[in-house]
Every structure is written in C-alpha cells, then in structure tokens.
C-alpha cells in the first residue's frame, strides 16, 4: 500500500468512524430533552427512566466522539499538511466557531450528566437543550468547511497564490446550505431509526414493553419526519452537485455520454472500459428533468471530462445507489409509521411491523456512510475542487500505511468495546428501572 492511498484510507476511516458518534451527539440530546420534558410535565417515572437510560449510553458515545474528533483536528495536519497550510486560513472560520460550539457543548454536558438531583430541575433540563443545540451547530459548521472543499469560494487563486482571502464568504459558500440541511436531516434519520430499531427489538422480545414503547415513539417520530423530508433535500444537493461538480454528478449516475433526454439509471453495473452501464433500469429524460426541470436538456456526461479529472465511477455510483435506495425505503417506513399511528393502531405491536423497524436499525447509518463516500470519492482527484489535487496535499512522511493499520486496529477495538458496553446497558434496563414501574 503506498503512502498516498494509506493516507486517504486513514482519513476515510477516521471520518467514517467519527460521523457515527457525531450524529448521535447531535440527536440524542434532543431525544433526551423531549423525554425529560415529558417526565417533568406528566410525572410518569417511565420518562425519567428513559432519559437516564439514554444518558448513560450517550455518555459512552460522547467520550468516543470527543476523542475521535480531537484526533481529526490533528489528522488534517498530520496527513494533509500542504492542504492545511493554504486552506486553513480560508476555511478555518467554521472550525474556530465549531471550537466554541464544542466548548459550550462540553460544559453543558458536564452539567447535564453530573447534575441529576444536584441542580434546579429546569436548569438541568435547559443544559440538555444546550447540548443538543450546540451539537447541531457544530455539525452544521463542520459541514460548511467540507462544502467549501466542494465549492471553494472566498479567495482568488492567481498563479498558485491564494489572494484576497475572505473567511466569512468562504464559510457561506454556495454548497453550504444544501449540505448542512441534508447532513442535519441525515443525523436525525440515522439516529432516529437506529434507536427506534433497538427499542422495537425489545418490544418484540416482550421486555419492559411500556418503557420501550414510549422510547420507540420519541425516536421514530423524529426519524420518520426527517426521512420524509430527506429526498427533497437530496434533490437540492443533487442539483447543486450537477451545477458545481459535473464530474461527481456524472459519476453518481454513471452517466458516460452527454445526450439529449439524459436517462436516470437505477441500479446497474458501470463498465468503465466500454463506457456502458449493464443490467440497470434506464428512465429516459428523467435525469434531465431532475437536474434542469425539463426532459430534453442534456446533462454533462463523463465523455466531456478529461480522464485525469474523473473520480472512481463504480464506487461513487454504487454508494449513491445505496444511499438513495435506503432513503426511499426509510421514507416508506416513516409513512407507514404515521399510517399506523393515526389509522391502524393495532399494527404498532404486530410482529411484521416491529420486524420492519428492527431491520431498519443500521440502514440510516449505512446511508450516512454511503452519502459521504459519494461526496468525498466523487470529489477526487481534487481535495479542493478545481484548485488543489489530493496528491499534492499529502504529507511527505513515509510509512503512513503503518499508522493506517494502527488506526484500523484502534477504531476496530473501540467499536467492539462500544457495542459490548451498549449491549450491557440494554441488558441492565430491567434491573435498574423496573422497580420504579
């Protein structure tokens, strides 16, 4: 494995790991605040138990999210020093504000986790809200840094020099809104369905049904609403990508040829040698419609893009198909939940219904990983779209493959540990909380 590939793999691994914890860090505080609120309003102890059970699990995720985030802030420099050297001053603004948001979050978290029975109860509740708000804010800020890499702005690039730097303009680059919206929704979808799925499993096994039913409800309402909105926001992202990053967009669709009535490809196996797609379903004109809102206008295909500026087509395409496929699946699952809630109450406890949500447990996070693969692999070979190539940014240090193996080992061990600890938490629910019931 050469150093360049190792560096890219290490970055991808670290971010792919961190994103799971940061989604949970953004969304779980919101769920906890809701059940905490219900407890204070209704006095039903089940809500206090849910909040406390969640907060124990979340503490583990928080610690892991915080350390993996600290790693990332160094890794940007350890792996991509030449990128940070030029990009730091331009896209750093959201990072410094993010630093503030993290700090607020860490402080509020101290109050929240250790404040049970110590603080005024409304103040305690409020600190939970602050954790959630600053979590979402940091998510949005860091995504704005990433969207700058996709649509660089706020500087002039003249003869290899970065001039007239304007960090604020860089922060509000063209892509930031669609990316931030899509990411925030994704966090709610992924966490909502994952949490709901775990509680659905417990209902399925008839353990503490009352407890798990209430917990399921809070999680799934958020997950379902976000899942229904997600394709709309995805459409916005896709239109933006087509406009700003035609190569990424063409790779997502495995669109090899620029033709009138560009077809939308569903599924399919791109053959990069013969430049054709096999086995997929093509819907003529649909791609033109999605991008330009009429069926005729041709969408730029890979034939218009020099080979050396093209990303890896199969990876981008498959990742995109996975994300969109899951997106529509979760959309229907979300709609089904509301049908059950409003018209078909009995469904809520049917085995097929619970099984559906148990099956959906990991899907949201799978879509998150797939989506980031689309964004990041689709941007290659650029680290800053159109300005700097990833290969120019990599560290001169040799032997990165060994650090990559080390990171793989560490993240693998941590994942196993977190799953193990979470399993223990769930097992302890009856022992810890039944007596209050």
């Amino acid at each position: 494995m050469n150093d360049f590939i190792a560096a890219r793999s290490q970055m991808a691994l670290s971010l792919g790991f961190h994103i799971i914890y940061s989604c949970i860090g953004m969304v779980m505080p919101v769920f906890m605040a809701i059940s905490h609120y219900k407890w204070m309003k209704t006095g039903d102890p089940v809500y206090r138990n849910i909040t406390q059970a969640w907060s124990k699990g979340v503490a583990i995720f928080f610690a892991t999210g915080a350390v993996s985030g600290t790693m990332l802030s160094f890794e940007l420099g350890l792996l991509w020093p030449k990128f940070m050297r030029y990009a730091g001053p331009i896209f750093g603004m959201p990072f410094s504000l993010e630093g503030v948001a993290f700090f607020v979050e860490a402080i509020a978290l101290g109050f929240f986790l250790y404040g049970w029975n110590r603080l005024n109860k409304w103040f305690h509740w409020f600190t939970g809200i602050v954790v959630g708000v600053s979590g979402v804010a940091s998510g949005i800020l860091v995504v704005s840094a990433n969207s700058w890499m996709n649509s660089p702005s706020g500087f002039d690039y003249v003869n290899g020099q970065y001039l007239n730097i304007d960090p604020i303009k860089a922060m509000f680059n063209e892509a930031w809104f669609s990316e931030a919206l899509h990411m925030t929704l994704a966090a709610f979808v992924a966490t909502g369905f994952a949490v709901a799925g775990i509680h659905a499993l417990m209902i399925f096994r008839k353990r503490n049904v009352h407890f798990h039913t209430q917990a399921f409800k809070i999680a799934i309402i958020f997950g379902a609403v976000a899942a229904i909105l997600q394709p709309l926001s995805g459409d916005l992202s896709a239109k933006g990508a087509a406009k700003r990053q035609p190569a990424k967009s063409a790779a997502m669709e495995a669109n090899f040829h620029t033709v009138d009535y560009s077809p939308l490809l569903i599924g399919g196996v791109p053959d990069t040698v013969h430049k054709i797609d096999k086995y997929g379903i093509e819907l003529p004109g649909m791609l033109s419609f999605l991008v330009y809102e009429n069926f005729k206008t041709p969408v730029v295909g890979l034939d218009k893009i020099p080979e050396k500026d093209q990303p890896n087509v199969p990876v981008t395409h498959y990742a995109f198909q996975i994300m969109v496929g899951i997106g529509f699946f979760l959309l229907f699952a979300g709609l089904l939940y509301f049908v059950a809630l409003w018209w078909k109450r009995a469904w809520l406890f049917r085995n097929w219904f619970l099984k559906l949500f148990i099956f959906a447990t990991p899907l949201g996070f799978l879509a998150v990983e797939a989506g980031w693969t689309v964004t990041e692999v689709g941007r290659q070979p650029w680290i800053i779209q159109g300005v700097m190539r990833t290969s120019e940014a990599v560290t001169p240090m040799q032997g990165i493959q060994y650090t990559f193996y080390l990171f793989t080992f560490v993240y693998f061990t941590l994942s196993v540990a977190v799953v193990f600890l979470l399993g223990r938490q769930i097992k302890m629910v009856p022992a810890l909380y039944d007596k209050n019931k």
Binding site: S68, M84, L97, V100, V104, I107
Partner: protein, 335 residues
Amino acid sequence: MLYVDIIFLFFAIVLYFLLGGADFGAGIIELFTSDNNKSRTRKTSYQAIGPIWEANHMWLVIAVVILFVGFPVIYSELCTYLHIPLLIMLMGIIARGTAFSFRNYDAVKDERSQALYNHIFVYSSFITPLFLGITAGSVISRQIDPSSNDFLTSYVYSWLNWFSVAVGLFTVALCGFLAAIYLIGEAKEQSDIKRFTKKAVIMNAVAVGCGGLVFLAAEVENVHLAHWLFGNPVSFIAIIAASLSLVLLWYLLRNGHTQIIRIPAAFQVTMILIAVGYRHYPNIVMVKGGNNLSLLKDHAPLTTITDLGWGLLIGSLIILPALGYLYYSFQRKAE
C-alpha cells in the same frame, strides 16, 4: 487582532497544561498508589474531574484550531516533523478518554473489565503528557531539520533526543504534582489529605529532579537553556517567582490551607511556561539552520486573523462565564 490571537493561543496552552495536566496527573498519581489505596484515590479524583474533564480537554482543541486557522505554516510544519510523537500522544488521548468514561458508565461493574479500564487509564495518563512534553521540548530544541531528506533525521531525531525526552519527563512530574495539590483540596478525610500531601512532596522532588535533568540534557544537546532562561530579565524574574511560589505553597499547606495552595501551584507552572516562551517570542518553533517560525511573521492573512480574533473574543464571552459556573457549581456541591 494578531495579538488577541496570540494571547488566546498562549492562554489555551497554559490552561491545557494546568487543567488537562492536573487531569493526567490524577492518573499518574493512581499509577503510583499502592493497591489498597487505589480505589479511594480513584473515587476522589473521579469526583473532582468527572464533570469537567471533557471541558478541560477542549483547551487543546482550541489551541489546535487557533494554530491551523491563524498560523497554518506553523501547524503544518509541526504536524509534518513531529508526526510520530503527536500520533502517540493522540493514541494516549483516545485510550485515556474512552477508558475513563467506560469505567464510569459500564452498566456492569465487574472486576475484570474495571481492572482493564484502570490499567489503560493509568498507563495512558503517563504516556500522553510524556509525549506532549516531548513535542513541546522538540519545538524549542532546534532539532527539526527541514533541509534533510533522510527519514530518521526528519521524522525521528527531530524529537528523539535527550532534551525532548527530559522535557517530557519533567512534564509528567509537573502533572503529577498539580494533581496531588489539587486532590489535597478535594479530599475530605484527614488520612487522604496526608496521603496526597505525601504524594505532592514526592512529585515535587521528582519534578525538581527532572528539571535538573532538563538542564543536563540541554547541555548534552547544545541547547543553551541556562543562557536563555537567565540571560533576559523577564524569564529570570519568572523563574524566581516560580521558585518563591513554591516556598509559599509549602508554607500555606503546613498551615492547613488546602484549597488556596492551588493558586501558587498554578502560578508556578504558568511562570515556567512564560519563562520558556518569552525568551523566544515571537519565535515559536526553533529550526535547525535558524529559519525559525515566528508568530509575528508566519501568520495567516490579516482578514483571517481579524475574523479569528473576533470569533475568539465573542466565543469567550459565552464560554468563560459558563465554564466558571460549571467549576463553581460542582465545587460548591461537593462540599
């Protein structure tokens, strides 16, 4: 605004040393505590650092952010030449942070897994500040050599030298000392206070020893440390002040002021950092061949510096009161 950024950078580093350092120190103390007292030490230190440990470590993130936004050249050079010690430090941070929260939040407190978390926690509490210190030492040791093409010279001897290692050990000792002083104030029982006092005395002696080692190593590696420290009035005064505060500290402790002693301890460490920092200012990274990196020269364009400064100022209006209230609440509740 450049000076605002520099001041924030300095404060973030000092606070990380003081707060994060005390935090590491708690693990170091645990490492050197006999088995039958370990659980008591653990309990006291958990009560003391539990609610605030995450906030303590945010100072590091703030310092890194200021560096890469405001001083990107410095950040990228450090990350390149000190890749290895930074990496080891990061591994320590990961191991420590997760072990600390796993041991408190594991739903089943069985002996085997607790013992494992404790092991990871104490050893990583030692490794992390060791490599933090090694990194800090390398920054001023003049061993970073941009002209070299050879792997060992560029990426290994830049930090693996007597001076850097001695600074690393000195840092570990200081962390242990800070933690012991801090824990004296947290302990409620007389026997614990005695125990932590004894630890503080030992750590103090070790720190002085390691300090001597640093001077020795400096001679070996041709770092003119003595000349730097005593050759200019500010550093000289800072060193004297640091020594005097130590005397004050022991005097206060003998008279039973277990809380107040934190102030001279913190003051002492701050003075040491000032003494070292001031002599080079505005240079911050000493490089072989003399092309040192300077805070006043190697900074980002001024628009960025200004925006960063405002971000920090406004951010600190939110953070500092909240942080103060956090410390205050848990201090008061603990009593």
